[in-house]
């Protein structure tokens, strides 16, 4: 699991306008957005620390205290990203349950038979007029068996790993598509996940997703930048076309051969523009591929005309990312 939608606002707005000759910016990362009061609003916390509660119930042998300790580890992992400013604070136990629209950000177990293929999920309560984020709840489906063991337990889902993914959402990040799966006996298995925000869990007993990957760090830092993040990193921007037309929803991955890190984004306009921010300065390999290893609607709104009908392609040259700047627009033509 892992991944993440975010944005880079200020710097890239100007960059994109210059590069593409118009005023529509290409954002880095995806992000949660909604329309409120007649304007587009980015879903993020405007005040921190984010105060959260934990449901005071023992479920499946896991006490509320043990559950809180495991989720606190996940919160601490996000909070420890040095280039991000977001912070969280445990506010206490509560009799409320996640999903209650009560103004309290709450984490806990629920038995949700209608969500029988969902391990966990995040929900938001938003003010329709102002766009303010009022609360964000995370439910863990008690229909599954869970573990809070330090080393994980075979056959049980790791609370800390799943919490790390969901807290990414709670913070405003969407899914990442950096991951590979395969079909075994008709079922999909995750081969690798290059980001905590990849939407499919690795498997019960696995605890390898307790650590953030480069894509996650870039995402949270871009949404809540701290220190000199924007000045110390750079971006790659460009356009993906097919038969001379822009491609919407193409997954564009920047691979740093020096570190092995991958950070990605999508083309986010019908003209095929993309921008990937938060990259270490230096050369990068750029790959474009269709979003066909995942459920499209876990990335984009259903109304988005995501193009899946093209072949993956590497950009012919290394792209050098400058410190505090943009690579300049690169053009990538893909084949049907």
């Amino acid at each position: 699991m892992s991944g993440g939608p975010v944005h880079r606002v200020a710097g890239l707005l100007a960059i994109a306008a210059v590069l593409f000759g118009h005023t529509q910016p290409a954002f880095a990362y995806l992000k949660f957005g909604l329309e409120a009061g007649g304007r587009e609003v980015t879903l993020k916390w405007t005040t921190t620390p984010v105060r959260y509660f934990v449901t005071d119930q023992t479920v499946g042998g896991i006490s509320a205290a043990d559950f809180q300790a495991a989720t606190a580890q996940a919160f601490a992992t996000w909070q420890s990203v040095p280039s991000a400013s977001i912070t969280y604070r445990f506010a206490g136990f509560t009799s409320s349950t996640p999903g209650d629209d009560d103004g309290r950000t709450t984490l806990g177990f629920l038995n949700e038979p209608a969500l029988d293929r969902v391990l966990a999920s995040t929900s938001f309560l938003v003010d329709n007029v102002t766009g303010a984020l009022l609360e964000a709840d995370i439910f863990f489906n008690s229909a599954f068996t869970w573990s809070v063991s330090k080393d994980g337990e075979p056959g049980k889902w790791d609370v800390q790993s799943i919490a790390l993914h969901e807290i990414g959402h709670l913070s405003g990040l969407g899914h990442s598509a950096i991951g590979e799966t395969q079909i075994v006996n008709g079922s999909r298995r995750v081969l690798s996940a290059g980001a905590v925000m990849f939407p499919i869990a690795l498997g019960p007993g696995d605890i390898s997703s307790r650590q953030l990957d480069a894509d996650d760090v870039a995402g949270i830092s871009d949404l809540y930048p701290d220190g000199d993040f924007n000045a110390a990193t750079g971006s790659v921007s460009g356009q993906v076309t097919k038969n001379g037309q822009g491609v919407f929803g193409a997954h564009v991955v920047a691979f740093d051969p020096g570190t092995g890190e991958q950070i990605a984004n999508f083309t986010l306009t019908r003209s095929g523009l993309f921008s990937i921010a938060g990259l270490r300065p230096g050369p990068h390999v750029i790959r474009v591929e269709p979003l066909d290893d995942a459920d499209i609607e876990s990335f984009f709104d259903s109304a988005e005309p995501v193009d899946l009908s093209f072949r993956a392609k590497f950009y012919e040259r290394l792209v050098v990312v400058p410190r505090g700047g943009d690579s300049g627009s690169i053009q990538i033509a893909v084949s049907p």
Binding site: T269, D292, D293, S298, F299
Partner: protein
Amino acid sequence: MRAVLIAVALSLFSSVAGATVFLPTDLNDLSRDAVAIARGRIVAVDAQWTDGRRSIETLVTLETETYLKGSLGQVVQFRVPGGSLGRFRSVVVGAPSFAVGQRVIVFLGSRGPTVPYVLGMSQGVFRLSQSPQGDWLVTPPSISAAADGPIVRGIRRPSPLGDFERDVRALAGAAR
């Protein structure tokens, strides 16, 4: 109603619809577990408070054209979590969103005498689109129950509605 991201395809913002840890589901699982599989057109989308006014959910009304499995009547309602009521909007990321007029195939589950729900959240919804020639198409899931091996990027294509429905009927029939 637009639940989460108001997709502004041509404007500055892009939308992200999902935010959930899924267990991946293929057509075989969906066809086996669905109590009904319906194709139809959305005719109403109504948000409401759940019992006890604890949260918001949305009732979606589908005027069915045909059933690929089971039957719940000419008009069927199912619920999805989240919705917009007055000043508040509840967004359950990963839950599918619907708009009046959309044509869809939905895989519905049910637990007892309750309003049906969509299996696997957005995994249980397949949206119909029209080709430039006017043919109705469905984009299949990335999981094929028939083939083992790595998922090969770039080969997933919208398929004719008739082909998709033939596959679903076969899977649903085999699962009985």
